[in-house]
Structure formats: C-alpha cells, structure tokens
C-alpha cells in the first residue's frame, strides 16, 4: 500500500507530465531551422534537467518519509468527499464549453448559472434564479447591442433559425 501511494504521488505525476510536455517540445524542435530551434532547444533542455532534478529530490524525500498511520478512516473518507468538489467544478466547466457548441452560449450560461450554485449546496433558490436570469440578460444585452458581437449560437440556434425562416 505504501509503495502504491509513492508511485501515485501527485507531485511526481505532475512533474512527469510537465517533463513529457517539455520533451515533446524538444523532439518537435528538431524539425525547425537553426534560428527557430535555438531557443526552444535551449529552454526545453534546461527545463528537462530541472524537472529531472525535482523528481529525484521528490523520490528521495518519499523514500525517507514515514507514513502517518494514525489517520483515522473518518478523516480519510471526509477528505475523499471534499475532494469531489474539484471534480464537479471541472466537469461542469468542460460541459459548459462542450454544450456551447450544441445549445449556444446564452442558453448554456443560463443553465450553468442556475445549476452550479445548487450543485455546490447553495439553497436560496429565489436568489439563484433572479441573479441567473439578470446576469444572462445583461451579458446578452452587452454583447448584442453594445459590442455588436456574434455569440456562438450552437446547433440548436442554427436549427431554430432554420425552423423560423421556413415559417
């Protein structure tokens, strides 16, 4: 179990990802001319050395670390419960982005502003409803009438336009 947690140490995973990212840059820079490749090669090599150094230091620390076994099961389960919030936040953000392409920016914004406070445990429904409507309306007004910007309509917006143009 102890060895398992050492391998899945978040610092190590993060540094490994950053190392892979830097290595990809180093490999990709091989195809460029000398001027274009000079800085990327130099910087990616230095960064890789620093990342390897950080990983080595971290491994050394983990090797010498004695795990605190006194942590109770309750504490662990509470931690796991709390850690789900970042997951909810991230999933809703990605869904927000993906749904822009289907439902359009305005409708997704309204749904997001109404749903996320409730998902995060805010129970004052009236306030959530009123602010959600007001923020979306304000945003729509500013973008449409002041900025004259085209907001992504999504597939639904295009379909709706097609439907109304047919009538």
């Amino acid at each position: 179990m102890q060895g398992h947690s050492r391998i899945f140490d978040l610092d190590l995973i993060l540094m490994a990802i950053l190392g892979a990212f830097t290595a990809a840059f180093l490999i990709d820079s091989r195809s460029y001319n000398l001027t274009a490749a000079l800085f990327p090669r130099l910087i990616s090599t230095i960064s890789l050395i620093l990342i390897l150094w950080t990983i080595t230091v971290r491994c050394w620390k983990l090797f010498h670390k004695t795990q605190d076994v006194s942590q109770s099961r309750e504490e662990l389960s509470a931690k796991q419960e709390g850690s789900m919030v970042w997951y909810i936040s991230l999933v809703t953000m990605v869904s927000y982005y993906l749904l822009i392409h289907i439902l359009g920016f305005t409708l997704v914004t309204l749904i997001y502003l109404l749903a996320l406070p409730l998902l995060l445990g805010y129970k004052k429904y009236k306030i959530v409803f009123i602010t959600g409507i007001l923020w979306t309306a304000g945003f729509l007004y500013v973008f449409t009438y002041i900025l004259h910007a085209r907001l992504p309509e999504g597939l639904m917006g295009i379909f709706f336009k097609w439907l109304t143009s047919g009538l």
């Binding site: 978040l10 993060l14 001027t35 997001y112 602010t131």
Partner: protein, 494 residues
C-alpha cells in the same frame, strides 16, 4: 497655457464624460480578464462625434479607471481583473481573507492614485529625458531588460527554486508557440490553425489565476472572508502613505517598463512585486497579507499605464496595444502626436493632460466611495460566487477575440493552475516566462543579426553593461552579503 488647459478640462460636458468614463472603466475593470485594452477598445467608436479634448479625456478616464478596477477582483476574489493586476492578488487576497478587504481596497485606491500621479508628473515633466534613454535602447538592451526580469524567476519560486525555474522554462516554451519572430516559420502548432498566432495571454492568465481560484473556493465552501468583517478603508490610506520607499520603487519600475515599448502592464506589476519582496527585510511575510506587497504592484500598474502614454504623445510611437488605440483616437480627431505635439496644437494638449490628471482624481474619489460596497463581496457564500467567477472568466476569455477555443485554453490552464496551487508550485513563474518569452527571443536574434553573429553585442553599450551588472548583482548579491556577514562574525569570534 496650463490655466487654459485646466479651464477646458473642467468644462461641464468634459466633467460629465470624465465621470461616465470612470464608471464604465470601474465596471469593465472589475470583470476578470477585461483590462484597459478591452475598455478603451470598447469605447473608442463612441468618441467619433465628440470634440478632440472630450474624446481623449473620456478615453483617459476609461483607461485609468479600468486599470484601477482590475484590482478589485484581484483583491476580493483572488481573480485578476486583467493581466496588469496579477500581482495584486498575492497580498491583496490574504488581506481580504483576514477580514481586511476594506483596508486592501483602501491601499489599492490610494496606491493606484499615487501611481497615477507619479505617471502624470513623469509624462509632463521628465518625458523628454525618459524618451532620450528609451531611444538609445536597441535589441541588445531590450534583451538585457528581459534577462533581468527573467532573473526574478528565482525570487518568484518561493522555496521550490528548481520547480519554479522549470515552470518558467515551460512558460517560455508556451510563448514560442506560433510563428518564429525572425524566420516566421510555424512552430509547435501541431497542425492546428488556432495555434498559428500563438497562445493568447488573457485566457492563459485568467485560467491560471481566476479559474483555478474558482475551484479552490468551491472546495473551501463558506465565504472568502474567514472573519465576518471588511475592515476600514481609511486604514488602507494610512498604510500606503507609511511606505514612501515602496511607492518610489513601484513608481520607478512602472515608469521604466511603461516607457519601453512591448514591456508594459503585464510585466510591471509582477516585477514591482518581486523587486519589493527582494528589498524587504521580511520577505517571508509576502503572500500572507503584507501591505507592501500590494502597494508596490498597484503603484507600478498605474504609473506604467501613464508611462505607456509618454512615447505615444511625445514620439507618436505607441508603448502598448492600448496606447495604439489612443494614437488612433488622436489621429481620428486631427491631433498630431510627436515632438511638436505641445507646440503645434495650442491649449489642446494642456487640456488633455489636465484631463488625464482629473481622471486619476475621479477614479480615486469614486473608488473610495464604492470600495466599501465592493468589499461586501467577500461576505457572500462561495457557492454563489464561484459560478459568477467561472462565467466572467469565460466571457473575459471569449470577448477579447470572439473565439470559443479561448474558453478551452482557459479551462486547461485553470486546471493546471489548480493543481499547481494545490501542490504549492509557483504558477507565477509560468506566467512570467510566458510574458517574457517573445521579447527575450526576438531581441536575442535581432541583436545577433546586428552584431553579425558576435555575442559581444550584448555588452557593447553602457546601458546593456549596467543592466547586465545589475542582474548579476541581484542574483549573487544576497549570497555575497550573507557570506560577508559570516566572515565578519567569524573574525569577531576569533
């Protein structure tokens, strides 16, 4: 002439537009990601029908108030209002958490006002001298300035030097995405058209600091202020005035970076913060609510935005994208910026400069008045604030270029920023590298071309030698001082 200028600026319709510009600037500035560039760009078309002085005064008030308003979100919700106020989060937000949001906003308002005054005095009095220095700077000197700023990475990576430097390196690599500045060959785009222009700064900064903060706040629950208090705004006023040396340092950094084209708002506040931390006797208190850590970037930010205007007015060369819009507005209204700006246009330039000064006063007074109401945001539940931050971050990222892909960039950097903050890695190093990457690389190659392949070009002028020496001294100075102290103690013991 100055009397006439002030008389024009104080006319009722000019004052009305000044007030309107300040209110618009405060609202735009308070939104995450939307800085002075967005505010001035948004308002530029509305100035078409205005008289020249009114138009520039209106834009100047939007410019000053947006830069100030940027700090409101930085302090209250740890979300940079724009790229110019990233450093205001680091000590401003801890103060808000300690129940001193009012004090932090008081510091921000007073420091921004003082920074504006420093910038204005520089603009009016010492701009010819500053321009003389700026004109002598070529690619080798700019490379040295960028190198000097990069040396601050070691300072920024608190306790995790190797990881901080590696993150700085990754920031530099991200800045290399897009067309190479010399040969224009496409790099690291991995076949996507979106990356041809490089990664946009606003979505990266908003993701790293705003979105990551939204996730942290969602996890924390409760309210931002751990004590149900917002503190006194007047206290912030006193805290700022008690730090004349911090104000001086911030002002110098802001003006110098503002005068230099391409180096501006995005780097001034970060550099001023790190310089202040280095100069401090208690650097360990930075990041935990040290008022000096808020005063320095705030002064630097507002002096920088006026420093940006110096080459615009005196040479007709815009110091940044925002001042390029000013240049467009001036040309549109028949004004001729350049060396003869003061001589050829009668009392008009004096009216514009008076208006710029009044713009500083306007945001100061409105800021002081509204700060208490803004500060109440820290008492609202996080579950209610988080969706607003996410929504405003997405809107801020999207609005700059009207591209939905920018929202995805914000999410990716938001998650990265969250992981980095969770493991106590300094995300600022990544941003510093990202901001300085272009300038460093382009000026390095240009210098080598000018020097026909010789690296001695970097030490060929007095300015670059001075900059190089200062960088080396800043890097090894603290170690030399501590070594000297140890030797002295040993001798005394002996």
């Amino acid at each position: 002439m100055w009397y006439e200028g002030f008389a024009i600026a104080l006319q009722s319709h000019n004052l009305m537009y000044l007030l309107l510009g300040t209110i618009i600037g405060l609202v735009v500035g308070a939104m995450p990601g939307l800085g002075p560039l967005f505010g001035v760009g948004l308002m530029l078309p509305f100035t078409f029908g205005m008289p020249a002085a009114t138009a520039i005064i209106f834009l100047a008030s939007v410019h000053a108030a947006t830069a100030y308003g940027d700090s409101i979100a930085s302090i209250l919700i740890n979300t940079p209002g724009g790229v110019g106020s990233v450093a205001s989060c680091w000590d401003g937000y801890p103060l808000a958490q300690q129940g001193k949001a009012g004090m932090a906003l008081g510091i921000s308002t007073t420091s921004s006002f003082i920074g504006g005054l420093i910038g204005w005095v520089s603009l009016v009095v010492i701009s010819p001298l500053l321009i003389l220095v700026a004109l002598k700077m070529g690619p080798p000197e700019y490379f040295m300035v960028a190198f000097m700023a990069l040396s601050l990475l070691a300072m920024a990576s608190t306790g995790k030097v190797a990881a901080g430097l590696a993150l700085g390196g990754i920031g530099l690599l991200l800045a290399f995405i897009g067309n190479d500045p010399i040969t224009a060959s496409s790099r690291f785009t991995f076949g996507t058209d979106y990356l041809e222009d490089g990664l946009p700064l606003v979505p990266v900064a908003v993701g790293l600091f705003a979105l990551s903060q939204a996730i942290v706040l969602a996890e924390q629950g409760g309210t931002i202020a751990q004590i149900r208090s917002v503190g006194s705004i007047r206290q912030g006023f006193g805290e700022t005035l008690r730090r004349p040396f911090t104000i001086m340092r911030g002002g110098i950094v802001g003006i110098l970076l503002g005068v230099m084209p391409a180096l501006g708002l995005s780097s001034a506040n970060i550099v001023a913060y790190l310089v202040e931390k280095r100069a401090s006797k208690n650097p360990e208190t930075f990041g935990h609510g040290n008022p000096s850590g808020l005063v320095a970037p705030e002064v630097a930010k507002n002096s920088c935005i006026l420093g940006d205007l110096i080459p615009t007015f005196t040479l007709g060369i815009p110091g940044s994208s925002t001042t390029a819009l000013f240049l467009a507005a001036m040309t549109m209204h028949g004004l001729q910026p350049g060396v003869n700006f003061f001589k050829a246009s009668g009392p008009l330039p004096y009216a514009i400069f008076s208006g710029i000064l009044l713009a500083q006063v306007a945001f100061f007074l409105l800021g002081l008045f509204f700060a208490r109401y803004f500060a109440m945001a820290v008492l609202a539940p996080n579950a209610f604030i988080v969706p607003m931050i996410v929504f405003l971050s997405f809107v801020g990222s999207f609005a700059m270029r009207n591209r939905v892909e920018d929202v995805l960039v914000t999410i990716i950097f938001g998650f990265l920023g969250y992981v980095l903050s969770k493991r106590d890695y300094p995300a600022i190093c990544l941003l510093l590298g990202f901001v300085l990457g272009d300038i460093t690389e382009a000026n390095f190659h240009r210098s080598i071309l000018i020097g026909r392949g010789s690296y001695l070009i970097f030490l060929s002028t007095t300015i670059s030698i001075v900059l190089f020496t200062l960088t080396i001294l800043a890097l090894v100075g603290p170690y030399l001082v501590s070594l000297g102290k140890k030797l002295l103690t040993r001798e005394n013991r002996g």
